[in-house]
């Protein structure tokens, strides 16, 4: 017995519960709104910490609510859920601080923060979902909650982006609904169970199982921005910076990637998926996405657009790690879920600061920004280097595990892929760093880089996440580091892989 069996529900409510409050709050009560936001975010971090500790002690949380005959809403806190929920809790807190600073005088703040917390609530729901049905519900909620954020500026461009976003994600949601129904009809359950629930069906009706996989991955691949479902992501970057940060680092794309993980590990089971020959095509798609995203990023001048294409590429590392079907690669994938989030959110917040403080929105305007905003650019630099995979930063850790896993699985091409991708990463990040630090501000810069002061609420968050990037990489083997936790998970998902046999990080 646990002392607080409803703990997962409380965590969900810290975000969902305050949303109506935030909607109803008058526009000018900024102080109260900030207090509610930060209070809830802080509370959630605390609750998640408590939950993580409980789960690591082997406590099982399982909440069910019957919606339709036989069909339950199910919240369960397993280690995989904890991984994602911890990421969202920490980053929500930081992003909230950043958003308060970013939107200080903007319009519609009540609406913004209302949907913002709904969005995070949906993410928590996705993390805690104990079956595909519950997952689907929160997946759709996430779509609906992010749409008003994407079009927050209310311009024609934002609305166009919003429409594309909506078409893609609701379309994806619909496909996922189809997949969920299919799963329900085929297996009579949609539960997430380590080892999967489809082993019998895979024997009886392999073709149906394969088709179902295709449908599910297509539905999830939209949010995970797998090629060819990726087009919405670069367009959706018209959203305000904190929204982009959240979308790219925690909420939307991660929901897709996380869903793919759940489907491969806990709906099919890695062995069944392999037996059905499903992992190799998935890996191929991921590989294509990785290269394609990086290539497209090279030619973008808009900073946020370049970052967005980079996200397309980076998120697929996670899918790749899952699809390689090796425990070590799985560790890499799971770690990358966290690491990519930390890195990308740093970069988006930094990009937002550049736009706010200096009016710089394009790579070609970045000349000399390092001297104008050293703190922000330091954080950006750190995150960029980590992305490229410089040891001992976070990105290196995940890439290392992926490569090792690839070798272990007998897939040597992964090494080449990772090398190539890293080179491309360097190809689009290094010029930015070069301009920022080593080129004199020229005539191209708007306002001659007249420095508008940005408050601490904008300046501090990227530094904090950059620090986390450093810690996650440097202290990868410390207890309770993301990497340690991922080993715990992989031990559950790969029963045959002995925990102790897993190699150390270095």
């Amino acid at each position: 017995m646990t002392d607080a069996p409803l703990l997962p529900l409380f965590i969900l409510l810290t975000s969902l519960g305050i949303a109506p409050l935030l909607f109803a709050l008058p526009e000018r009560s900024a102080g109260l709104r900030t207090a509610i936001n930060l209070g809830a975010a802080g509370l959630k971090v605390a609750l998640v910490a408590w939950l993580s500790w409980k789960v690591s002690q082997g406590v099982i949380y399982d909440l069910r609510f019957t919606v339709l005959p036989g069909l339950e809403l199910k919240l369960q806190a397993d280690p995989l859920a904890i991984l994602f929920i911890a990421l969202s809790a920490v980053l929500w807190f930081i992003t909230t601080v950043y958003s308060v600073g970013y939107l200080e005088k903007g319009p519609h703040r009540a609406r913004f923060f209302g949907f913002f917390s709904l969005c995070v609530g949906a993410t928590v729901g996705i993390a805690l979902a104990g079956n595909l049905f519950t997952f689907l519900i929160f997946y759709e909620l996430l779509t609906l909650a992010t749409y008003p954020l994407v079009i927050h500026r209310g311009t024609a461009e934002a609305l166009r982006a919003g429409r594309i976003y909506l078409i893609y994600t609701l379309g994806g949601g619909l496909v996922l609904l189809l997949g969920t129904l299919g799963l329900w009809v085929l297996a009579g359950s949609t539960d997430f169970v380590p080892g999967g629930i489809l082993s019998d069906v895979a024997v009886a009706a392999p073709l149906a199982a394969q088709l179902l996989f295709l449908v599910l991955i297509a539905g999830l691949g939209v949010k995970a921005a797998l090629v060819p479902f990726h087009a919405w992501l670069p367009i959706a970057m018209v959203a305000p910076a904190p929204v982009s940060a959240l979308l790219h680092a925690v909420a939307v794309v991660k929901a897709g990637a996380f869903g793919i993980m759940r489907v491969v590990y806990e709906v099919y089971g890695i062995e069944t998926a392999q037996a059905l020959g499903l992992t190799a095509p998935l890996a191929a798609i991921a590989a294509v996405t990785i290269l394609y995203g990086s290539l497209r990023a090279l030619s973008q001048d808009d900073i946020k657009r370049r970052l967005a294409w980079s996200t397309v590429s980076q998120v697929s590392y996670i899918t790749l790690g899952v699809a390689l079907a090796s425990p070590i690669a799985a560790i890499g994938a799971l770690a990358h879920l966290i690491h990519q989030g930390l890195m990308k959110i740093t970069m988006f917040m930094a990009a937002g600061n550049l736009a706010e403080g200096l009016g710089v929105k394009k790579v070609s305007q970045m000349n000399g920004v390092g001297r104008a905003m050293p703190g922000t650019m330091a954080a950006f630099t750190l995150a960029a280097l980590a992305m490229i995979g410089l040891p001992p930063l976070a990105g290196f850790v995940s890439k290392w595990y992926l490569a090792t896993g690839g070798l272990e699985a007998g897939q040597g091409w992964v090494i080449a892929l990772l090398l190539g991708s890293s080179l491309l990463n360097a190809g689009y990040f290094l010029p930015m760093l070069h301009r920022a630090w080593f080129v004199e501000p020229g005539a191209a810069a708007p306002d001659g880089l007249a420095h508008r002061r940005i408050g601490w609420m904008l300046a501090a968050p990227p530094l904090a996440t950059a620090a986390l990037v450093l810690i996650a990489g440097g202290l990868a083997n410390a207890p309770f580091s993301p990497l340690e936790w991922t080993r715990f998970i992989v031990a559950l998902e790969y029963p045959q892989a002995a925990f102790d046999d897993l190699p150390e990080a270095f």
Binding site: V67, L68, L73, P148, T155, G162, L166, L178, V185
Partner: protein
């Protein structure tokens, strides 16, 4: 158990609104107060009836103690009771909304005074129809509903409303007369009119004719494509609370009767089931296209009713003839979902029109007035109508698709998904204009147009969303008394 049975609740459910109608008409100055009070009393009666049904199973009242087939019985089983609760629940909130819509500042004295008797007569007819077990009695109830509904349609009094009302009237009378002709054939063959007689009946040519006539009449009344021609005009041109009642409740009655009859008198051929589903698919496509082209908000909402009715008929046909025994559940859930969400949506649309001053979709984003809460309500209702989780619309769609998939009827799954895409497309037209801010001249004031009047539509929209989580108990309740079992 409390001492409930001293009052016969099915009778009370019909007579309470009737008494209200009489009082509200005879005493126009107090129409609103009397009307509201009687709606609340009716709600109480329905609640008591629901408790009784929950405790004892289906409740049967043999009016005059003659018993069918000589007399007329009222019967409240789970399905009837759920629909009664839907009617009175939606009705209560629409009544609240009407207090604002017909407030002295917005509507003339006469509109306000006539709304209540007409609405209460409508409620009498609706409740009576849901409790009826006799086909001729159903005909009379359908006429009560039709006359009151036409009255509500033309309540605004404009030329478009009167013309639409007249079209509605023609369609409504014709539908009722087709039904009456069917009743004639039933009597010709069976010599009785009660449901029990229908269930026990052997197939016969006269019964086939009766079924065909009755179904044709009901489809006309329920506005299934291509018999929907009267609906968009009538629902779009009525005043908002009237539209909410018409779209939310009135079309549901003929659907309900259709459901009952097709259970008691099975369709003779699989082809017919497919045909009805195909008409539903046609409604989804045609209604979707028209909704995409609609220039006015209320017209768009009215076309969405055409689409939703189509979806309900697809749910009916989802698993073919053999699946009918289960398909009614999907139909009932969708009926419920549409009633609650569409009533909320029409009220919200009315609020938007009241605040902005017009309901031209293309110009909504030019207005500096943004009735935020009404727009939010509209969006919530749209979520349920689109069928996104966790709304009631989603639950209904899930049951629909689940059944279709299990039976291998993939075409219905496809139609449902296309319908969903359509509804996303036409509702997002509206939502985008709510959220666009770069086309207006003056700045938006903060929290504009929040009013207590938004409470009624908001609660309806939230219910449509939240009731999805209660779909399992609702389904369980609906099965009380085995609505379509061997014993009626």
């Amino acid at each position: 158990m409390t001492e409930l049975p001293t009052i016969d609740w099915p009778t009370a459910v019909v007579f309470a609104p009737l008494a209200g109608a009489i009082l509200a008409f005879a005493w126009p100055r107090r129409a609103a107060a009397l009307g509201l009070a009687s709606v609340l009393v009716t709600a109480g009666a329905v609640a008591a009836l629901a408790l009784q049904v929950l405790a004892e199973g289906a409740v049967l009242t043999r009016l005059g103690n003659w018993g069918a087939p000589l007399g007329i019985d009222l019967r409240a089983d789970g399905l009837s009771t759920v629909l009664l609760a839907m009617t009175v629940g939606v009705g209560a909130f629409v009544s609240l909304g009407a207090l604002d819509s017909y407030a002295p500042a917005r509507a003339d004295d006469r509109t306000r005074r006539y709304f209540w008797p007409l609405w209460l007569l409508l409620l009498t007819g609706l409740n009576g129809a849901f409790l009826s077990t006799d086909v001729f009695n159903l005909y009379v109830m359908l006429e009560v509903i039709a006359l009151a509904a036409v009255g509500l349609t033309v309540l605004g009094g404009g030329r478009a409303a009167v013309r639409a009302g007249l079209d509605y009237m023609y369609a409504s009378i014709l539908g009722a007369l087709l039904f009456l002709m069917g009743v004639g054939f039933v009597y010709l063959e069976l010599g009785r009119l009660d449901f029990a007689g229908l269930i026990a009946a052997e197939p016969a040519p006269a019964l086939t004719a009766a079924l065909a006539l009755m179904i044709a009449g009901l489809l006309l009344k329920t506005a299934l494509f291509p018999l929907h021609f009267w609906l968009p005009g009538a629902h779009a041109n009525a005043t908002a609370p009237a539209s909410a009642l018409l779209s939310g409740l009135v079309v549901k009655v003929s659907l309900y009767v259709f459901l009952r009859l097709t259970q008691y008198m099975p369709l003779p051929d699989e082809l017919l089931v497919t045909l009805i589903g195909a008409l539903g698919a046609g409604a989804i496509l045609w209604g979707g296209i028209q909704a995409l082209r609609a220039e006015r908000l209320k017209l768009l909402v009215a076309w969405s009713t055409v689409v939703q009715i189509g979806l309900i008929f697809v749910a009916f046909a989802r698993a073919g003839q053999v699946g009918l025994a289960e398909s009614w559940k999907a139909v009932a859930l969708l009926i419920l979902a549409h009633a609650v969400a569409k009533a909320g949506m029409f009220l919200a649309a009315g609020r938007i029109k009241d605040e902005v001053g017009h309901d031209r979709i293309a110009d909504l984003d030019r207005s500096p007035i943004r009735p935020t809460l009404a727009q939010f309500t509209f969006a919530l209702a749209a979520i349920s109508l689109i069928g996104l989780p966790p709304s009631l619309g989603f639950a209904g769609k899930w049951v629909l698709m689940e059944g279709a998939m299990a039976a291998g009827y993939w075409h219905w799954v496809g139609v449902t998904m296309i319908g969903t895409l359509f509804s996303v497309a036409y509702f997002s037209r509206v939502l985008a204009s709510f959220l666009r801010f770069d086309r207006m001249r003056s700045p938006v004031a903060e929290h504009q147009g929040w009013a207590l009047a938004d409470a009624a539509p908001l609660i309806l929209a939230l219910s449509a969303l939240g009731l999805g989580l209660a779909a399992a108990p609702i389904l369980a309740f609906m099965e009380i008394g085995y609505p379509f079992g061997a014993t009626p």
